[in-house]
Amino acid sequence: MQSRHLKVESVNAGSMADIAFLLLIFFLVSTTILQEKGLMMQLPPKVEDRSVTPVNERNLFKILVNSQNQFLVQGEVKPDLTGLRKDVKAFVLNEGKDPNLSTSPRKAVVSLKTNRGTEYGYFIEVLDELKSAYYEIYGERVGLTAAEYRHLDLKNRTELQIYEKGKAGIPMNISIAEPDK
């Protein structure tokens, strides 16, 4: 009789963990974390009349991928993409020196055209290569590697300034060409 008053009855909290674990496992199994990383592109606006915008031929770097996943870079058949990055960089940074390459980085357009039968994986491979070329250009201008440039933290003001400086005057003009009807 006297012990009842002295002992403090505690609820056993050990099983609480079991309940929480059960819930945790349920959520682990039933959920996917949204994957928000990838290659970003801006599509051109929809225009009804396809008036042709005059682009000086030399300012256009043409890449074609056919349905056999073969590459045609500037009219030359290429077995793979080695050297493409270098070619694109030379093209963009030409500044009018070579009469076959672009007149200025601002006007330079890299056009990527695919056939209906091209595999998506190859398209991504070329697109990635083109973006790498641009990032290498940006990086070199501020003394960073392409990877370092891409990982600049844009919320940090000094790093944002470096980022802007690298990009200034050289827009990433990658055009995904209108498919043939």
Binding site: G14, A20, L24, E36, K37, M41, L43, R116, T118, P179
Partner: protein, 149 residues
């Protein structure tokens, strides 16, 4: 020599009272950071790899489209488009995009980002068709989902 002290008689227990707190913390993290997957993945997808990956800062703007061959042969062996919940015909993509735009707040409607998660063996014809549809509905920001190389 005998090392028998009074202490050994007493049972030393580690308090497990804080364990639920830890587990609940984990639980809340998963509840907040995850979206519930309504169905088993319907499409076979092997996402391509790339180097120059960018991260979307505002994930609430993202709407996902999947492209791939259906896992269940009853839905055919041709690549198809699906949202996270159901299959979508290619002609309905523009309509879907407009519908999804309505779910965003007014100020953010034009900033909707469509994340295209496609199998690397899918033909570009289908991807191009999707893009044409998206242009029709004026949702022009596209992210091609890729894995890090």
């Amino acid at each position: 020599m005998k090392f028998k002290s009074k202490k050994t008689n007493k049972e030393v227990e580690i308090s497990t009272a804080s364990l639920p707190d830890i587990v609940f913390l984990l639980l809340f993290f998963f509840m907040v950071s995850a979206t519930i997957r309504p169905k088993e993945e319907m499409l076979e997808m092997k996402v391509p790899q790339a180097e120059t990956i960018a991260k979307v800062e505002r994930r609430e703007l993202i709407r996902e489209l999947n492209v791939g061959v259906p896992r269940n042969p009853a839905y055919g062996s041709e690549p198809r488009v699906s949202t996270i919940t159901s299959f979508l015909d290619i002609e309905d993509v523009a309509q879907w995009a407009l519908g999804e735009k309505e779910t965003l707040p007014e100020a953010l409607k034009d900033q909707m980002i469509v994340l295209i998660k496609a199998d690397e063996r899918v033909n570009m014809g289908l991807i191009n068709d999707i893009q044409q549809e998206l242009r029709k509905s004026n949702t022009r920001k596209v992210v091609y989902r890729t894995l890090e190389k």
